[in-house]
Each structure stands twice: as C-alpha cells, then as structure tokens.
Amino acid sequence: MSEQQYLDFYRAERETIFARSDARLNALRDGAFAVLQQKGFPTMKEERYRYTDVARDFAPDYGISLSPAEDAAPCPAEYGTLADSADPVVALNTMLTMSCRVVRIGRGERPEHPIQIVNTLRGEHPEMVSRRLLIIVEEGAEADVIITDRAVSKQQFLTNQVIEVFVGDGAHLNLYEIEETHLLCTRYSSLFMQVGRNCSVHHSSLTLFNGRSRNRADVALCGEHSEVVMNGCVIADKMQHTDCNTLIDHRVPHCDSRQLYKYVLDDSAVGAFAGRILVREGAQKTTSQETNANLCATRTARMYTQPMLEIYADDVRCSHGSTVGQMNEDALFYMRQRGISEREARLLLKSAFITEVVENIPLHSLRDRLLVMVDRRLKGELSKCEGCKLCE
C-alpha cells in the first residue's frame, strides 16, 4: 500500500484502534499520523534510507491486524520517549501498533536465566505486523535478552518493529536479535537505546535468513564510563537484501564503543552497512572503534558500506576500518591441495570469516548454539530446533 492507503486505513479505523488499546499508545498516534502525512515514506535520496526502498517494501497489499495481544500489560510512561518520532517508518508503527511488550528488570535484579522473546509469523494471508517492545533495565540490574524472529508459514510478511531500551546506571545488558525467517519476509526494525553511567551493554544482531531487512539501531551514551559493544553478522544469498544502519552517539566523556559488523554475500544478495559514530562537543576521552568487513562470494553480490565518523571533541581516539573482499585464493589453494573439495574449502573460509562475530557473544550457551546455526546456514540447511513444534 502507498503511504496514502496506510493513512486512509488509520483514518477509517481510528475509533476501533483507540477503543482496543492502551491510552498511552493512543496518545501518540495522531502525532505520528501527522508525521507520516507530512513526510510520506522516506526516499532513497535521504541519507539514512539510501540503500533501501521503503515505498517498495511497504507497497504490497498487506492485511493489518487490529487485535491487541491477549495478555497486554499497561504501557509504562517510558513508551515513545526514545524512538525517533520524526522517522516516518517509526511513525507508521506508532500509528498502528496495538500493544507494547514490556520487559522490565527491576533495580538490582539479576534473573538467573536469559529472557527470550520469540516472534513468530504465522498466517494464511499476507500481513503487516507493527511490533513494539520496551526493555527497561533499572539501576544495577543485569540481564540477557534474546529476541528471535521466525516465520512458520510460507507467506508474505512485513514486520515493522520499534524497540526502545533504557539501561539504568550501573546496569548490564546483553541483547541479542536473531533473524531467521524466509525469502518472503520483510523486516523493518528500529532500535533506540539510552545508556546511563557505568553501564556495560552488548548488542548482537544476527541476520541468518531473511528476505529484505532494514535494521536501524541508535545507541546514545548518556552517562560517563559506559561501554557499548555492537556486533553484527549477516549471511545473505539469493536475492536477499540486508541494510544495517547504526548510530553510536557519544554525548558524555569517558565512554568506549566498539563495533564489528561482518557480511557474507552470495548469489545476488545486496548488503549495506552505514555506521555513524558521533562524538559530541565535550565528550572528551572517548574511544571508539568501528569495523566492517565484507565477503562477496559472487560477482553479482553487491555491498555498500559507509562507516562514518563525526567528531566534535579533540581528546578522543576513534577509528574505523572497512573492507570488501573476496575469498583468499591462496587459502583455497592450500586446502584443495590437501584434498578438501572446493565447496568445502569455500564453506570453511566463510565460516571462519563470520565466526569472529559469533565468538564475541558473551552468553556461552547461545554462542555454541549459534555456531551450529551459522554452520548449517552456510551449508544451505535451514536450522530446525529440536523439540520445537512450531515448524511442523
């Protein structure tokens, strides 16, 4: 649908939407409507949407469900305070989302087990889903949160999700997003994170299988002596398209950020990485390192990369590096010589290349599982989780 159709849909269904959902969600809807109406979908001329055609992705005639989650809890006051309300894609989510999932880790709490959120796409008809998630890690709390995206029916789905994450002073959060859907799925994800003092945050985003994805992640360092690690791993082949757009905003002094994004592109896959590091005036003693390495395995795969540094403070150490390359011929030759088939050798190289990202994952049980998943993915086998009844 065009933006006009989404706007018309909202106008027509406004009362139903308002009647069925939380007052806090409703409070922001009309403002979001105005943003989308005024701006329309971003075009590829806009810097943050250079590599993904939003209008095209939202064009198919998707059904939109207006039923809220059955167990929806009241929406907390933090809702909508972090997300970029000027972004039309975020606005569309704010306009249409029916409920907001909340993960709150209370002050000083340390849940024994990781928290996993499983998003499953299932249905008989093409559908657009507007998902909303709020993660609040209060002062001194520690948590591992895993978000997985799966699709169990071979249907066209469009997910437009917005995640807001608040990390309180002295808190510790490991957040993992694992995307494993199918070629017909399109995902727009916008993550906004605010980090307090003395925090340690790890964010991993893994796109193992998808159709088209556009993942935005904005992290604002708002308290001193915090550390952020952002990891990204993309494996794409066929006609897949993955666009990761990140911003690390150093607003205060004495913070450290590290970023590593790796892509393996095969067939006619398209990858894009735009990572911006912003060091604001006064954010002295910042250290920041951004690395993006990409492997194009065929001549039809295409990679765009754009690592950006924007620095307004002088006493900083920032660097970024980016490479686009091919399989190392020498390494391939070495393995062939030792009787390893070309296919196997290529696989080994790809796997070695991408494993670096997975190995950074602090949660060991997840890391081991992911190593297996990545391996299977590279072999072209879709991972089936043992014991899961969803994928029958």
């Binding site: 810097e47 005036e281 006064g282 002295q284 990409n294 194009c296 395995a297 065929t298 001549r299 795969a301 295409r302 990679m303 765009y304 990369t305 754009q306 690592p307 950006m308 540094l309 924007e310 620095i311 307004y312 403070a313 002088d314 006493d315 900083v316 150490r317 920032c318 660097s319 970024h320 590096g321 980016s322 490479t323 686009v324 390359g325 091919q326």
Partner: protein
C-alpha cells in the same frame, strides 16, 4: 598568559596575499540572465556551438536547487548580486595588441609569480588568470616546439576549436551538479593544455588564479588533454584579497588521459579564508574530474587546501581504461570558522584498475573538516583494488573532524579497504619535543608537518616548500 599573547598576535596575523590591485577593470553589471550569458560569449568572440552549450547549461541550472548534502553551513548565495565577468586587462589598447598593465605585472610579482620569462623559475610555464581573464601565458613558444598547446581556454576555443569541442564537458557534463551547470553557463578563463602523443612535457605547467575585483565571482575552466604515452605535471595556485563579503569561486577542471599517458595535478589552494570571526572569505565550490580513458593511464591529484571560508571539492577519477591507476593525496587544514567538505570519488570501470586515497585532515579553532569519498567498483572491473586511508587531527576542543566514506562494490574480485583514525596530537610526542627544548608551537608545527608528509612529498619541489610554509601559517594560533 604568554600563550594568550601569542594567540592574539597570530590571530591578527595578516593573510599575506590580502592586498587589492588598483587597476581599471571592466566589470559586467551584476546579475545573471540569458543576456549575461550571451554577453560573456560575445565578449570572448565565441562560436555558436559554445554559446549553445552555455545556454543549455544555464537553462538546466535554472531548474536546479543549490545542493545541501555537504556537512557545511553554506550561506544563502544571491546569484543576482554577483558580477559574472571582470576584465582587468581592458585598457585602451586595441584588439590583438594587449599590453600588460604594469600594475598587473607588479601584482603577480608580489605574489611570487613573475610573468617575465627571464625572471621565472626555470622549468615552470605559467598561465596567470586575474578575475575573468588570462593575463599572460609564459614559455608558449618553447612548448609549441614540441607540439604542446598551453594557453587560456578562450584562445584555445579560437585556435583549436576541434580539440576543445571534442573534450569540453566530456568529463564533467553541465548536468553533473548545480555548480558545474553554473560554471558551464558563465565560465570565463582558465587554462587549456594539450600534450600530443608520446611527448613528455619538459617543464611544469602552472596556472595562477587571482580574484581581484570586488563583487565578482571567478568561474574558471581548465581542460587538460594528455594524449597516448604523454606526460605532464600541472600546478595550480590561487589567492584573493581580504574582503568582508563572501566571494564565489565555482570552477571546473577536466582531465582526459590517453593510453599509457600520465597526468599529475597539484593544487595549493590558498584563497582568502575569512577573518578570525569567520567574516568574509572565498566560497570554493569546485568540480574536478579526470577520465582515465586509455589502458594503463595514470592520474594523480595532490591537493593542499588551506584557504577558503568554505571548500566543497571532490577531485575524482573515472578509471575507464584497463589497468589504469589513480591516486588522490590531500591535506586539508581548517582554522577559525573555516569549513571544508572535501574528498574524492574513484570510479573503477576497467579491469585491473587501482586507486589509492590518502587524506589528512587537520582542524583547529572552531572549524569543521570533513572527508567525503566514494569508491565504486563496477561489474566489469575485475581485480580492481582500492586502498583508502583518512586520518584526522584535532587541535582544540571546539572544532570537528568527520569522515564519510562511501563504498559501493559490485564485483567479487575487487578488494577495497578503508581505514580512518581521528585523534589529537599525542601528549607524549609534545613532551618529547618540549624536553628537547622545542617550544610547543614549533613542536606542533613539526608534528603536523610530519603527519602531512605523505602528501607533501608528492608535490613538486617548489610547491612543497610553499605548502609547508602555508601549513605553519594556517595553524599558528591553533595551539593552546
């Protein structure tokens, strides 16, 4: 305290080239319209095709908007408040016999660009351009013996129309961007260079651009055609008087390199940067591009950017010939309120093409310095190779240094690498120098020069010395 006094002294230090020459200058009425374009063309006695080219460009320009994507705060430019043609040579002398006004000779002497051949540094031929007109081109006869054409572009249009027509706009079409369209409509003088097949140009060719008249802009156009197996090294320098108003400089440089040809293009850009409050200064909005047309051709851009209130400039290379090689070396220094958004584009089309980008940004005062670059590898560019390295040095806590590299790779056999770092001068290095009795200011100068050395080394000798001096002058007062 001593530091403050030093700062003040340097802040008040005069831009050395800020004087104005009193010379009768014929200036066209301010404003821009089709009539003005026709008038410029008529004044230059241009053929019909060139007027058509200008008019087409002008009409296209009218449909365009000033771009705003740069990391710059570009002031609103009133294109109707600028005069598009200023001729300082228009004395009573009749056509054909243009005596050079002694004032002009003196001006160029003062700038260190003697127009009398006997005084000139041996080995450099100069085309001196003031405002809209080329004043003199030296050593023409000696070059002509080898078949080299080196003259102003207005003369070339008359004397070598076929050559000019074949190449003008072939590398930078007027539709390329807003300022390229403006330049194509109103361009005045610039240099034209043609190096015939197999000729190695025996001396450095150089153009010196000077804006003198008030209320004007300079829109020069340079075209360099280097035929197969030929070689030329070309230098460009520029200065302008100190004025409170912003003066517009929108130039185009086009370079075509034939098979196995080689062009070295070096610029030391020292337009008036504005005063320490950020008032005045030249707006340097330039399109420079080279086409490596033949196989095994080579082109290198070397630039030292110290002047201009605003620099918006991306000397680029289109690597079309197989195994062609391009290089871009840049040092950009910004101080006070200067803004620079500069870098390069390397467009790899041919097989086995190679490019290198070395960019060094130095920001001081309250300036903003950005590197913006694109490396594009086309589908057919098998085995293309690029290496980019962009370093930024920050002096002072109120300036900014930014890096915006774009990479677009469509070929699996290509290898593209980019790395960038941003840091300040290390305390250890300063301490080391201080310990050995070198004052902090001198130490900073030393370190900065060392930092920029990779690029300065690529400049021809005389230029390198000048550039080194310029670096020191531009940065003095930045230490504190």
């Amino acid at each position: 305290m001593a530091e403050n006094a030093f700062l003040r002294e340097v802040a008040e230090k005069k831009y050395e080239y800020g004087f104005e020459t009193k010379v009768d200058t014929e200036i066209l009425e301010k404003g821009l319209s089709e009539d003005v374009v026709r008038m410029i063309s008529r004044k230059k006695g241009e053929p019909e095709w060139l007027l058509d080219f200008r008019l087409e460009a002008f009409r296209f320009w009218q449909t365009q908007k000033q771009p705003s994507w740069g990391h710059l705060t570009l002031p609103e430019i009133d294109y109707q408040a600028i005069s598009y043609y200023a001729d300082p040579t228009k004395k009573s002398a009749g056509e054909g016999n243009r005596e050079i006004d002694p004032e002009l000779m003196k001006t160029f002497d003062k700038l260190g660009i003697p127009l009398e051949e006997r005084l000139a540094l041996s080995g450099t031929a100069v085309d001196a351009v003031m405002d809209s007109v080329s004043v003199k081109t030296t050593f023409r006869e000696r070059l002509a013996e080898k078949g080299i054409i080196f003259c102003s572009i207005s003369e070339a249009v008359k004397a070598h129309p076929d050559l000019v027509r074949a190449h003008l706009g072939s590398v930078v079409p007027y539709r390329d961007n807003y300022f390229a369209a403006l330049n194509s409509a109103v361009f005045s003088d610039g240099s034209f260079v043609y190096i015939p097949k197999g000729v190695r140009c025996p001396m450095e060719l150089s153009t010196y651009f000077r804006i003198n008249a008030r209320g004007t802009g300079q829109f020069e156009r340079t075209l360099i055609v280097c035929d197969d197996d030929a070689y030329v090294s070309y230098l460009e320098g520029c200065t302008a008087p100190m004025r409170d108003e912003n003066q517009l400089h929108a130039a185009i440089v086009e370079i075509v390199v034939g098979a196995r040809g080689e062009v070295k293009y070096s610029t030391v850009q020292n337009w008036y940067p504005g005063d320490s409050e950020g008032k005045g200064g030249v707006l340097n909005l330039v399109t420079k591009r080279g086409l490596l047309k033949g196989d095994d051709s080579r082109l290198s851009w070397t630039q030292v950017e110290t002047g201009s209130a605003i620099t918006w400039k991306y000397p680029s290379c289109v690597l079309q010939g197989d195994r062609s090689q391009a290089e871009f070396y840049s040092v950009a220094v910004t101080n006070n309120f200067q803004q620079a958004d500069t870098g390069t584009k390397m467009i790899h089309l041919g097989r086995g093409t190679k490019s290198t980008i070395i960019s060094k940004g130095i920001s001081a005062g309250r300036s903003q310095n950005s590197y913006r670059g694109l490396v594009k590898v086309g589908r057919k560019a098998d085995g293309a190779r690029n290496y980019s390295s962009c370093d930024s040095l920050l002096l002072g806590s109120r300036c900014g240094a930014h890096t915006f590299p774009y990479m677009d790779v469509q070929n699996d056999t290509a290898v593209v690498e980019h790395e960038a770092t941003t840091s300040k001068i290390s305390e250890d290095q300063l301490f080391y120098c201080n310990q050995r009795g070198i004052a902090t200011e001198d130490a900073v100068g030393l370190i900065v020069n060392g930092y920029a050395k990779d690029v300065l080394n690529k400049l021809p000798m005389e230029f390198a010395v000048e550039a080194q001096k310029l670096l020191n002058v531009s940065l003095e007062g930045a230490v504190g």
